[in-house]
């Protein structure tokens, strides 16, 4: 059983900096879990603590049921792919792959078999005699993966392994990773700041910010039922529009226009709608939020319309709203428009805590 468990793991640096605060996370055997968040959110810290490269201030870490919190990295039966690959530059690819097995006194014939098998799987069998310096970035990345896989670890740790590859290669390797995990379902914990990688690769995603877990769930759950404004604004490109609004007399009002019914006392809220769930209408359309055009970005398959909404008459700065409009939409800057939202796609968040309320229905259906 290669289940990975973080139990109340905290990592403090000195008295002030809390890199990780009370992380509780269980990764099932064979699951591919993604840790995603902006830099400084604690994801790399969490990975390093699992690897044994750092020790938690409090909490326990378990791999395959065994508590490993005080064990060194070599005693945890884990393997790691580093962001910069960390290949041994003076050793050949073969020796790089064999290194870990040699430390464990694996017999020579067994090492040879496993190295060649893994090299074949990753399509680097032609490169076994070369040194890392003679390889391309993509080849080095595969050798790094090979070095980790050849040991058949209980858990597979990956620290932003695609970030040093160019965009085209990244897409290709992403696919390779998915296929690889299907063939060898090793429990994997993958750290990235790229939400596209997160959503495409992970069985489950753990969104983190400032040392705390924001939400754990599948891609569908994270995207369609975000737990708070952070998750809502972080996942998705372009991100969900979040504008301040108020509840008055049982209705949510954005810029004075009622959007949805909500049984709740009067209070400020944050309304969230994704760009693909908004529509651009004429300026006087019934039940539409008045806005004016800032600029348009044509992208071929669609046009991103950037509009300004005066949500609060008291504050001078308008809120920016991005709408994904059909191709060919051409609007002049400053032009007045009306915005409507698709039914059931309006999210409500508490203005103070940012946590999600129930999704409401629009007042007038379109």
């Amino acid at each position: 059983m290669a289940e990975v468990e973080y139990a109340g793991v905290t990592r403090r640096f000195g008295a002030d900096v809390v890199a990780l605060h009370g992380l509780d996370l269980t990764v099932a055997d064979g699951e591919f879990l993604i840790l995603v968040g902006p830099s400084g959110c604690g994801k790399s810290t969490a990975l390093r603590l699992l690897a044994g490269l750092d020790k938690p201030t409090s909490g326990e870490i378990r791999i395959g049921g065994k508590t490993v919190t005080h064990l060194g990295p070599g005693e945890r039966d884990i393997a790691m792919v580093f962001q910069n690959y960390a290949l041994y530059p003076h050793m050949s690819v073969y020796q790089n792959l064999a290194y870990g097995l040699r430390q464990r006194r694996t017999p020579r014939s067994e090492i040879d078999r496993r190295v060649r098998e893994t090299a074949l799987l990753l399509d680097i069998d032609e490169l076994l005699d070369r040194k890392p310096g003679q390889l391309s970035g993509g080849q080095r990345q595969r050798v790094a993966m090979g070095r980790a896989l050849v040991r058949r670890p209980q858990a597979f740790l990956l620290d932003e392994p695609l970030s040093n590859l160019d965009a085209k290669l990244r897409t290709q390797v992403r696919g390779d990773l998915k296929r690889l995990h299907r063939e060898l379902p090793v429990t994997s914990i993958y750290v990235t700041h790229d939400q596209v990688e997160a959503m495409t690769l992970g069985d489950r995603i753990c969104v983190m910010s400032k040392g705390e877990v924001q939400q754990i769930g599948t891609t569908d759950e994270i995207y369609n039922r975000p737990a708070n404004t952070f998750v809502a604004g972080f996942m998705g490109s372009p991100p969900m529009n979040l504008v301040p609004a108020t509840v008055k007399a049982g209705r949510v009002l954005v810029a004075g226009v009622p959007l949805v019914d909500l049984a709740s006392p009067d209070r400020p809220v944050v309304v969230g709608v994704r760009p693909e769930d908004l529509q651009v209408r004429g300026p006087g359309t019934a039940a539409s939020i008045p806005a004016r055009i800032d600029f348009c970005e044509p992208l071929g398959s669609h046009v991103l319309v950037h509009a300004l909404v005066d949500t609060d008459p008291a504050s001078p700065a308008p809120a920016t709203v991005v709408v994904q409009a059909p191709p060919g939409t051409m609007l002049d800057p400053g032009a007045g428009i009306g915005l409507t939202a698709s039914p059931g796609k309006t999210y409500l968040f508490d203005a103070e805590t940012g946590r999600a309320d129930l999704t409401g229905d629009p007042v007038a259906s379109t």
């Binding site: 690897a51 990295p73 884990i78 580093f82």
Partner: protein, 308 residues
Amino acid sequence: MAEATVAQEGRRPGALRRLGRSESLTGWSLVGPGALLIGVFGLLPVLMSLKLSFQRSDLLTPDTPWVGTKNYRQLADDPRFADAIQHTIVYTALFVPGTMVVGLLVAAAMNRSVRFISVYRTAAYVTMAVSTISEGIIFLWLTDQDYGLVNAALNKVGISSQPFLSSPSQALYVIVAMTIWGWTGFAVIVYLAALQGVPVELHEAAAIDGASPFTRFRTITLPLLSPASLFLVVWLTINALQLFDEVWLTTKGGPLHATTVIVYYLWDQAFVQFNAGYAAAMAYALFVVIVLVTAVQFRLARKHVHYS
């Protein structure tokens, strides 16, 4: 004004030729002083020394008769020179590895970021600033037979006082120790910089692969330090073969010629015995040895030195 025109018209052949000529004048006038000085004090002496090695000269009288290869033949038969070579080899064989090992150990200890580390490092480097004469005087005092601190410490653990620099069998080894101390600072600087060039992730990856700290040092760190090690081997060997100052100060080549190294013998022949021709031949022999040894070291390096 002409410059501005040239910059604009630089592409045309005529202007290029003009550019080439004016650049040559500029070039030579800039290089002139340096080339002249090095030519007079660096190149010319090399030729003069070669000529001198085929003559007999006492540096004072202008009479320098040609003696052909007599000096070199004499050198081959000179037992004092053979001894000097032997002493120099023994010295070099101990000094070079000794300094490298000490330098590496100290650098490894200093390769961490605890508080005051810059103070510790400065103290480790500081022997670089100590002149050979100061170093010699300090060690004369430390190893003094009657009042030296080293003998006091030896007595404390039951070993009798040693003559050290007054003993023909011990003096050379004391000089080895003395010069290792003097060169430690330099070796620490080189190794520390090399150690800091080894990415931390390599150690982390090796740790995850299950290698113990000692294995990591042997299989990862040392090979990656090999360029620095090569530099030190070459540089320290060249300096070891030229040992002079400390010998002159502490033992004057003695006792009983036990510490006469090649350069000491050379200096003695040139400036005390006034056999300048003979000394010039000796100097050329040393030159050839240095070039050969360095070439051999580089050749061996190709197999063992890894550049990442």
